[in-house]
């Protein structure tokens, strides 16, 4: 091979377009790594943009869950008088909402990220997975801020901290995994069928009611309990409260679905997304 010192070719990237690929080659995880700067840039863009030109700025991160918890406390705690496992209803609802919000914002942001950036998808190449993945950064920051509020609330109500708290990061990771997996499937499909983008918030609303957010698992009638615990969110959200407030209703079934559900959802989501992403630019 001729040596051309001026050309930056020795450690050159060779890209192959077209032709057959193995089923796992499509995952191209090494390529994802080489685009880590873009991941950071998109993540930072989302964080910076969120509250730009708002009067209250970042305080919205605090206000949103507080307002939601207040509404919950009034509607479900006062009007419907739902039980709260012996905790002040507001604190109980806030702990549930923390987990729910982490799930719901992840689902919403990952599933809408492609359509929101359709201009980019049709004009530049990058692994499309970067778009939904990068939304996690903003969600993680939101979560950290609400955690501080939660900590304050626990201190004020002098709720004792337990060793259960050590499992909180696990619950959170599993919640983000299942939400991302679902978001990838829904977001990938919505590129072609916008119907999915319309359906997603409706489905999320339904999930909210069949998950222990506004009420504890213990209030679900025993004969429906097994069916109820097949929903991975049951174990995950109850686990959240179990870690934060010290008590909760965790059965082996609930924990099993809570661990398996996210693994399956994320695995399927990533594989499905990477298989259909080549066609995005043609139909978006």
């Amino acid at each position: 091979m001729p040596d051309r010192p001026l050309a930056p070719s020795s450690s050159q990237v060779v890209t192959r377009i077209g032709g057959q690929r193995g089923p796992w080659a499509a995952l191209q995880l090494r390529e994802m790594w080489s685009y880590r700067d873009l991941f950071l840039t998109f993540g930072l863009r989302d964080v910076k943009l969120r509250y730009r030109q708002t009067a209250l700025g970042v305080s919205w991160v605090l206000l949103q869950p507080l307002i939601a918890a207040a509404i919950f406390a009034f509607v479900f705690g006062r009007v419907a008088d739902l039980p709260s496992d012996g905790h002040p209803y507001f604190v109980f609802a806030f702990a549930g909402l923390m987990g729910w919000n982490a799930f719901n914002t992840t689902l919403t942001r990952t599933s809408t990220s492609l359509l929101a950036n359709s201009q980019l998808v049709s004009k530049v190449y990058f692994p499309r997975l970067i778009l939904p993945a990068s939304t996690l950064m903003a969600t993680a920051i939101d979560f950290l801020i609400t955690s501080c509020v939660m900590a304050g609330m626990l201190a004020v109500t002098s709720t004792p901290l337990t060793l259960h708290l050590l499992l909180l990061p696990i619950w959170l990771a599993l919640l983000l995994m299942i939400a991302t997996g679902m978001g990838l499937v829904l977001g990938g499909t919505s590129v072609r069928f916008r119907d999915v983008a319309i359906l997603t918030p409706v489905a999320a609303q339904m999930l909210l009611y069949i998950s222990p957010v506004a009420y504890p698992v213990s209030s679900v009638p025993a004969r429906y309990r097994d069916l109820y615990e097949l929903n991975p969110l049951t174990g995950l959200l109850e686990g959240f409260r179990w870690s934060l407030l010290g008590n909760g209703h965790l059965t082996p079934l609930a924990v099993t679905t809570a661990v398996l559900g996210p693994l399956v959802a994320l695995g399927l989501g990533v594989v499905y997304f990477r298989r259909i992403e080549r066609g995005f630019a043609d139909v978006i």
């Binding site: 050309a7 070719s9 050159q12 890209t15 192959r16 863009r45 030109q53 530049v124």
Partner: protein, 426 residues
């Protein structure tokens, strides 16, 4: 395979389903359609955008890709830029690829200029370190120092485009794919971009694929060109021959007028209630009507005009050629050059201007046509920029040198001579 080949394109094909874009936008339509025709997968009306395209590009080469609209140029770039997948065929790219399919892709209006430089750079495939290294150069080129921390939504459109191009121009990629980026901004900025492009093209080891409708730009930037037509490579070789081959294909059918002929019979004429007097403009060379002419060729401009006044107070017809910077280049009218042939039929006639050896250097030009009352009276019909034509390079002096815009706006017939000096003779 030689490492001197930067891009190897082998039998690339891609087709789009025309029908699915319309009827199958919703899931319901698809399901309903599947129920009605369970064994038929929708109407298979396919458009073959690329049909077995093959070519190689050597490292350091600047290859032009030209062709009429719909010939597959943009699809080819999208495939090479990996935005879309080919149906069959392969391509090998040796080196990092940067694609500029649109200036300012991903710019966000709410972010500041500084933030957008980093965002856009990352989208184009630069690392934060690389962007930080060229940051000052980018800002210098774009000349937006004072507005770096202002959201770009407050930028003038000129500033916006300058910043966007500056980021793209500093892309550290060995292979650059560029699509009509120059078609943005005002004309002087386009010239600046063109100059920058030719700097980049001159850098060692840079391989560029350049798509444009601007034949003058293609000719001044490229060593070689591929002509696409109907998704196939029609010609591959020397850039001047390629431009010739492109002109031979004729233009796309979607154009409203045949090339070189502009129908103005319906234009608004504020000076005459009966409507348009200048009804048609045609630009012709020896090969018939065309909107692309070679510099130095003989050009005929035909004007179909209605309702001209005759006799001693006959109307005058004026033709002015302006450059794309809107600078008047020359003007010929019937008062300075009386027509030699008698006017034809009573109401409608054709006025013909013959220009020998068109002295314009390559670029885009406009024709403005006016009918004015005798002795510099009131205008009766004015068609400002009623026709646009492109002048492409040619070897006007027979020396092999092809003039460009940078040599000057016009060329002249001239001769050089050497004479012995009086003093040294003695």
């Amino acid at each position: 395979m030689s490492s001197d080949v930067a891009i190897e394109v082998d039998a690339l094909s891609k087709s789009y389903r025309l029908a699915h874009a319309q009827p199958h936008t919703g899931l319901r339509d698809l399901l309903a359609d599947r129920l009605r025709h369970p064994f038929q997968r929708g109407p298979l009306d396919r458009f073959q955008a690329l049909d077995g395209v093959s070519f190689d590009v050597a490292r350091g080469e600047v290859l032009g890709v030209i062709g009429p609209n719909g010939a597959g140029k943009s699809t080819l770039l999208k495939v090479l830029a990996r935005i879309t997948e080919p149906d069959s065929g392969t391509a090998m790219l040796r080196g990092r690829l940067g694609s500029l399919l649109e200036v300012g892709t991903g710019f966000h209006p709410e972010l500041t200029g500084r933030e957008n430089v980093f965002l856009n750079g990352a989208i184009l495939g630069m690392t934060r370190r690389e962007i930080a290294r060229s940051f000052d150069e980018i800002v210098d080129f774009a000349d937006v120092h004072r507005f770096l921390d202002t959201p770009v939504k407050r930028y003038s459109s000129g500033m916006y485009v300058r910043l966007a191009f500056a980021v793209a121009a500093h892309l550290q990629a060995e292979i650059l794919v560029v699509d009509e980026v120059l078609a943005v901004g005002d004309v002087s900025f386009q010239q600046k971009c063109l100059a920058k492009m030719s700097d980049i093209a001159g850098e060692e080891g840079r391989t560029i694929l350049f798509i444009s409708h601007n034949m003058a730009a293609i000719q001044s930037l490229c060593h070689r060109a591929v002509v696409l037509g109907g998704g196939r490579v029609v010609f591959d070789g020397d850039v001047d021959e390629a431009v010739g081959a492109y002109l031979a294909i004729g233009r796309g059918t979607e154009q409203v007028h045949p090339p070189g002929v502009w129908d103005h019979s319906g234009h608004d004429n504020p000076f005459d209630p009966s409507g348009a007097l200048v009804r048609r403009i045609a630009v012709e060379t020896s090969g018939g009507p065309t909107d692309v002419v070679r510099t130095g060729s003989d050009v005929t401009i035909r004007l179909e005009v209605r309702g001209l006044r005759k006799g001693p107070a006959a109307d005058q017809i004026a033709v002015q050629v302006t450059s794309d910077l809107d600078v008047p280049v020359f003007n010929v009218n019937t008062s300075m050059l009386a027509p030699t042939e008698s006017r034809g039929r009573a109401d409608e006639e054709t006025a013909v201007v013959k220009i020998a050896r068109l002295p314009l250097t390559p670029g885009q030009y406009w024709l403005t046509v006016a009918v004015v009352e005798a002795h510099g009276g009131e205008p009766r019909d004015v068609l400002v920029r009623g026709a646009r034509f492109t002048v492409i390079a040619d070897d006007v002096y027979g020396s092999g040198y092809e003039l460009t815009r940078r040599d000057g706006a016009v060329f002249v017939d001239a001769a050089w001579e050497y004479h012995p000096s009086e003093e040294t003779e003695t």
